[in-house]
Amino acid sequence: MTRILVVGAGPAGIRAAETLVAGGLHPVVVDEGAKAGGQIYRRPPDGFTRPATVLYGSEAAKAAALHQLFDRLVADNRIDYRPQRSVLGLADGVAHLAGPGGAETVAFDRLMLATGAMDRLAPVPGWQSAGVYSLGAAQIALKAQGVALGRRIVLAGSGPLLTLVASQLRKAGAGVVAILDTAPLHVQVLGGLRMALARPWVTARGIAMRAGLGRGYHAGVMLERIETDDSGPRVLHWRDAFGRYRLTDCDAVALGWHLRAETALADLAGASFDWSPVWQQWLVRSDAQGRAGGGLYLAGDGLRILGADGAEIAGRLAARALLQDLGLDVATDEQARDLARLGRMQRFAEGIARAFPWPADMVRTVPDDAVLCRCEGVTAGALRATLPLSGPEANRAKSLGRVGMGRCQGRYCQLAGAEVSAAAAGCRPVEVGRLRAQPPVRPVRVADICSLPPQDQRSIHP
């Protein structure tokens, strides 16, 4: 039987696995989580008691359906499920994994990547301090651990997650002192119209949720800096939409500007990339169904940032494309219907991208003494000082300036670094190029690498 490896067990990976199983295949499903669900439908550890309606709100039924479906696939032995494993590298049809039991390998003929997305971050002076988190982190802390990240939390950035996390935290009784959105209101209205045309009910729900935030929410702000002391954030310095300088006392800050696709494994698998002017980031080139060529398929936010509903559709689409490529029967009418559904998700997502834009101006003018790379504390000034020597090309600037060299491997600084370099060179971020992914894409113990056969060690440490 054809050996299929699915990476990721969020909405896209789960639907892909279901579709592949229905097509008669027995895929290996590798996931970093302890339980399937991904980030958005993440499940708390055993012994937690809040029901799905509390954890996932209006999306509770979708979350529960996916969890039950996946658990059923595992219980019936229809998939080979490997939780708590990270894929470190890919070479010659072999994936190298690290998990609780050490390193292992999985050989595959076709690869389905459903690796999802992470928060897209922009540097705010002071963000390297303990107590500054991503917006996603604030949601994960609440959902998976039942905790708030502080007593006086400022949420800042832009995107649907900003409103959602604020609303969820408030409902759970957390102290949210300000919700600061860098997207001006008129920009949000223009993007919101596109959103409403594609998905009126979802848009209306978002508007109602936003209205529920009341006076703590501010649109069109400028974030000046996070004042910190030894124990963490103390005061958020910002300007409101009228340019007035404002101070907000806080002990925690969560930042995020919508999402960034996780593409490191696609890069190692040989995918091509295009700069997306809509999402302002590099995305994998594929056909409408998720075929990226060479036996590689992608689905979910790791391919196009369409959210959980779009990810479920994309998972089915890519899996059917894979089945079709193997010469197996697929329901072509369902494939056509899913393509139409995905088109609607795409129009909605483009509205979101326009409503809550990447704060390019803020990043281009970030002060020299602000940390750009959180991992290694490299400042924006240090990158600017590197550019006359390295030139603006991203990989050369990384080699000499170390922005993107740290242990997050550029996940949280690549886009900001490109923006700063582009500003210095007087060009657009697309022109400075894309950081190449390097294996291992997650940290791994040297002992684990050494436990692999020599030919397999090369894909992790070439």
Partner: protein, 110 residues
């Protein structure tokens, strides 16, 4: 002596829900504390402390960032055994965690 976990004003995190779980004891820097079954290492430490560790490349401290295994900000040491990614490792009874490296670690001259 076991110190009660989650004393108001000490830790960074605030428990909002799921408070009925069984207690679980662990050590941080040689002192015994109490957390709950199902806590991650990050939750257990930050309910009693403001941070997990010092930054290696700056003078500030670190307390995790993404909580989803992507940023690698939250690695902590154990008295014995490998380092742990605090956000994605569940606390186990008797864990002996360290907020400073057990062996000499390069000091940053500020």
């Amino acid at each position: 002596m076991t110190k009660a976990a989650g004393m108001v004003g000490l830790g960074r995190l605030v428990r909002l829900a799921e408070a009925g779980r069984p207690a679980l004891r662990f050590h941080l820097d040689g002192v015994e504390y109490q957390a709950m079954q199902g806590d991650t290492v990050l939750t257990a430490v930050l309910q009693i402390a403001r941070s997990l560790r010092a930054a290696e490349f700056g003078t500030e401290r670190r307390a995790g960032f993404c909580l989803m295994g992507a940023c690698q900000d939250c690695w902590v040491w154990q008295e014995d055994g490998p380092r742990l990614r605090a956000c994605s490792t569940l606390l186990e009874p008797g864990m002996r965690l360290l907020s400073v490296a057990p062996e000499p670690w390069p000091e940053l001259s500020a």
